[in-house]
């Protein structure tokens, strides 16, 4: 999971994409040093478990739980976990974001998108 996420972040780094974690570890310091060890450069909400937590508000009962949110803030997918599926879904969403932002495509090698 983590190595694949790392490669996603790298691959999409110049495009309108952000991976945001919601970390529910009890021990903040320990989690932070493990993140450094694993070279997890993306941002996380630190979410201490308890009734006021983000995970509770979002009714998260199993970890990891994934939400895919488009550039307008609309939830498009949930719990897509297979690596090739993840890449396909994200590519589609990121391309749509780029088109909405003015049609500029920083990665011109990708062609033949069926959208206008």
């Amino acid at each position: 999971m983590i190595p694949h996420e790392r490669s996603l972040v790298e691959k999409l780094q110049n495009r309108p994409f952000a991976l945001i974690g919601v970390n529910s570890d009890q021990n903040l310091e320990q989690a932070r040093s493990l993140m450094q060890e694993q070279k997890m450069t993306w941002r996380h909400f630190y979410d201490q478990a308890g009734s006021g937590s983000i995970a509770t508000a979002w009714c998260v009962h199993s970890w990891p739980t994934l939400y895919y949110i488009d550039h307008q803030g609309v939830i498009r997918h949930q719990d897509v976990r297979r690596e090739d599926e993840m890449e396909r879904v994200l590519e589609e969403m990121v391309t749509a974001a780029e088109q909405d932002a003015g049609g500029r495509k920083p990665e011109p090698k990708k062609k033949g998108d069926p959208r206008k």
Binding site: L8, N23, S24, A31, H44, C59, W63, G73, L90
Partner: protein, 255 residues
Amino acid sequence: MRIMTMTAALLLLPLPLSAQDKPKPKQDDAKAEYQSLVDDYDQTMQKWRKEAMQAAEAAKQKGGDVPATATEPPVKELIGRAQDLAEKYEGKDDAVQFLTFVTLRAPGENHVKKAFTTLVADHLKSPQLAAFVQNLPYIADRSNANAVELLDTILDKNKHKPVLAAAYLVRGQVRMENANSAEDSAVAKKDLEQVAALDAPAELKKQAASLLFQIEHLGIGCTVPEIEGKDMDGVAFKLSDYRGKVVMLDFWGFW
């Protein structure tokens, strides 16, 4: 998979039958008998978990196999006691808590099935059925039964509000987990709204409200709720700071 984990969360709730009254050491008091059974069970499990962990650790260090005692809790005698008590109160409402105890905690499939069959045959109208209903997806899974069908029957036959509230909550939850369309979600939503309408216990209401929030705000096509929090360095930020970008939101932990 998700249903299982949610059910596990439900299991952690105190069973309404057990926690309320202080046990009186009267001989023929089903409530006291139940309380002492649960206490003994908790104690046994606590002790066993500790020993099992030590045994597993020792086996790991020696490189040998984990002993069988470390994989199966020693609850045979307690399950037997629950079965005896269920028999003592056979046909009466007081039997329900002991049968439910067996369906939840017996390790062997046969014991579970037998208690389950008795509950379904004799007690679907009982006012004491709430704990059974709350854990029904888990119990039905252990008994190879269809949870939704049974909930339909209970909602049809049982007239007691706490039982009905639990049944609507659980059916709504199962329907929600299985929903594949907006119509499916709408049907699940109706069940969950019934929980509030029935003046259910606070804990059930809270769960229903949280599931309704999930349907109304966390489904595909919903505008994502705001998250305001702090990052690992204590710097405040919001989810909406990232509008304009695609966000993959990942709930996770190293544990």
